[in-house]
Subunit: 309 residues, 4 copies
């Protein structure tokens, strides 16, 4: 099996490589715009502690919206199902930063993986604590999950996000108008911009996501990170909503739950098998890594890892 | 295992039974409105040819929108991936009969499981043939898949649907305005209303859906009903879109691909394991069987059949 | 005064003439697509029976949506304020054939000058009568108002409209689904397509609209065509809704109530003064005659006829 | 004439008085919620310097959105037609604080009388100056136009607006994301909240609006306040957009351009004749004074002052 994984990973990488130059790198902040578009890394983390990696798998990148999965995990563990009163778990059918549904649905976002929903999730996670304490909790979680203390928050990226975050401010104030924010908008956004600025490698990201493939328990340390129900819910939400209005396309092509970020990273979960992370900065129209999703489609197809049989 | 399935099926049935009286039976046509709201049946079809059934599992009911999965299968096999040029595979985030997205998206429906998408799928399946020939093909397919020649089209239901089908006519003419219908509206709707009027039991429905759990091949006869890719795609589309704007809720609660109909039926696929059908006419707000989905949640939870690990 | 009108009419015509070649002629039916885009006529009808005309003022053209004003008049006189229960009188903020608001507003169109509203208005005007009788009433009204029996219905245009009317069929069936149609869709559309196919000249059209400038009474014959309240309401609705999502622009530029049609005609009302009709087939993006509206802006500005002082 | 005006004003007041108790007083800030709902005043300002008043015509109230007309005037005079590149002049068909169209129309508000449009108009009026200087200009303008130095800004109201202004902040940040704000959001909102907090009486308000009835020139002082074109445009925009998604209703019932505020005030312009102001805090569903609009309908109907003849 191990050999097979290694072979298909390599093939998937080669298959997708030509697409690296075809995507469009996010350019709304300099820190993302300056990334070399030809960077490309893949990593598979297995429950036995083994890794299979290819390309720039050890280079840290800005995980951006992939962080939403991890703060959702923390918020769900902290608040329980109460969280679902503040944010739904339905696909939105809209783009990542759309505000239209908030108006017709009284300030309750469709799901925690679109921006509005992620902001409200972070707002709940704060739970009366300070920006620093909450940010520290998120960072510590990422370091523990990736088993690597070098994971860090890129404060330059965080500052740039804050400086250009008008759309996210608009979403937050809109939800505030419907009493769906518990802290001042700038407090919650301060944490949110920092979580999006977490930098880590595909190897670290795959490792950090491994427990999602094993019912919420880290198969290496044996530690229960979250309840099985919360783990399933998160996988289901990733499957339905992980790529905004491109979620159906990813779901049919790759056949696994996943979450993308505009930094070009994608975390993908193969339940009972492995966690897979890819990174290639060029994005498709919906903001998902173009070469990354091509590689994942090839890889899961070759291994028959689709959860749809 | 068999005993376990039987036990959990019985428990799920008892657990959900009290909810039968709480849903709201579809009343837009007399044939549906007159159904006894306390009817409740469940059936599990296994690859070895065994069935587990409980309640009114052998009573035929109107499968309504569950039929969309089967006509999608036929259309995909007939037209191949060309079909995806006429209809998407993204969750719509809207109700089953919404027309809003058609206006902003040039008459191309989001997916084949909302009404607009199902109508265009049926229109493509006709492929220049007559209403009779196409209807006959669909009925023959349902009979072959359920291995039971008693499956029938309830012409009274079909006539009622046609008589009250203004909303579907509106959808069809709208797509026609964008040249996304290949046949006269009334031709395609004539087939569509008939496919929705197919009557069969939960036992027959579970049997008919079994190949979706085994990569497109009927595990009993060994016959390849469709390509593995098409099978996976259909399961993915059911997962994301099978319950309209309640798909995320079903997906997180039940953890399996499924398709509901306003007749109260739900077909659910447990990849590699079984097909499960339930029937209880009382619906929740999104038009999915209330007791039916409660029972499915209980059953898949008890057996750990969620595809999210 | 008369000389002034003549002079400014001529100047307006010369001013706008170069724009005739810049608009886009409606091409969804052959009969409209084949019209010479350089045709350009203007006519002013005065209460003393005088006319001032320039260009192709005596050539009949397809008045299309301008007819909506006249059927609204007939429907209002026949049904009274009951009509406003079936159709509103608010600007829609949307294009002429949008269906979005119908979904969120339970099948009640915003106003009688968008397609949906005009179809429901015509449906009410039928009032249980036949297509022929209703069509005859409309035609007789246009002939009487224009004091000219040569006004006619171009049956070729009507047939073409019917053949390509998918969008209008969609609107009608949608309203039917909300019980906001009193007759079969094809019955009401049959009258609607015919009213849109009325052919008349700008001279005839200006004459036909004269009573709207004089509180509902024809200043020449002295006949009361409609109540003053209905007349004011119709002028108000034209002001707010006469040019779909371009109504505000027309209202600020021309300063008078008006109604445009895709045939390139515009009827404009100068309360207490005159009725003005223009015809130039080239349309702007919102479907209003480009040169026609330029000419009207110039003309009313020169004469200080804006009702905004 | 004078006697007639006085009589009809008194009759209109008596006619509408019973409706004072039926409206709903705005309660989103204490300062508005505490106003006596039975307050009711009307004032007519004539070009000869005469006033006709009835009820609480000399009691100051919070003019709120009526202020949008005056800042629009200042912005138009300062920036000329360039302003129309930042904000349209079409009816929106939506409620006063809707954000939906901003998303589909790239951050450009439909018109300057909905909140989004008024905020962007105030932002342009600032034109690089300070909050204090701009606020002072607006206040000075209101005092000069009303010929009364007692007009003031209620700083308590302004503070309350600022404290509860999440929805307006959301609109402003949204436009900022599309580069349609020239100053920091809090700067522009600071002026905006103050302009909405201007307190004046119906007598003062009618006087202040008089120039809109006379082509932009104050008929009493003879001073040209704005160009005739700008004056007409403002009247046209009031006619089409002055009451949000109730503009068509007001326009057909009252037949004059007007602007309402949630404080219960309405300014109405009778071109060539007079300016009329009313105040009654109880609002209809669209946020327009209920008794106020009833009184205006009665008054303009009695005097035949409709601009629709």
């Amino acid at each position: 099996m191990s050999e097979e994984i290694q072979k298909h990973l390599y093939d998937a990488f080669e298959h997708a490589k030509p697409y690296c130059s075809q995507g469009r790198v996010a350019d709304y902040i300099p820190a993302l715009a300056e990334v070399d578009p030809l960077k490309f890394g893949m990593a598979v983390a297995l429950p036995n502690g083994e890794y299979y990696c290819v390309g720039d798998a050890d280079e840290p990148f800005s995980i951006q919206s992939v962080s939403k999965v991890f703060t959702l995990s923390l918020a769900l563990e902290r608040l329980g199902d109460d969280l679902w009163n503040s944010v739904g778990r339905e696909p939105s059918g809209s783009s990542f930063n759309s505000i239209v549904q908030l108006e017709t649905e009284c300030g309750k976002p469709r799901n925690p993986l679109i921006n509005a929903g992620a902001i409200v999730t972070t707002d709940r996670l704060i739970d009366g604590r300070s920006v620093e304490v909450t940010t520290e909790e998120i960072l510590a979680f990422m370091r523990e999950r990736s088993d690597d203390a070098t994971v860090f928050i890129d404060e330059d990226v965080a500052s740039s996000e804050a400086a250009t975050g008008s759309r996210n401010r608009s979403l937050a104030h809109f939800m505030s108008a419907f009493s769906n924010m518990r802290h001042p908008v700038e407090t919650s956004l301060s944490v949110y911009f920092r979580q999006c600025a977490i930098a880590m490698s595909t190897r670290q990201l795959a490792r950090a996501g491994l427990h999602y493939a094993f019912g919420g328990t880290d198969p290496i340390s044996g530690k229960s990170v979250m309840s099985t129900v919360n783990c399933r819910n998160i996988n289901a939400v990733m499957m339905g909503c992980g790529h905004y209005d491109n979620s159906g396309e990813f779901s049919t092509r790759v056949g696994l739950p996943g979450k993308s970020g505009v930094g070009g990273g994608i975390l993908t979960i193969a339940p009972g098998r492995a966690a897979i992370a890819v990174w290639s900065p060029g994005l498709n129209q919906a903001g998902t890594s173009l070469a990354g999703s091509m590689a994942l489609e090839y890889f899961t197809d070759a291994l028959d890892w689709s959860i749809f049989a």
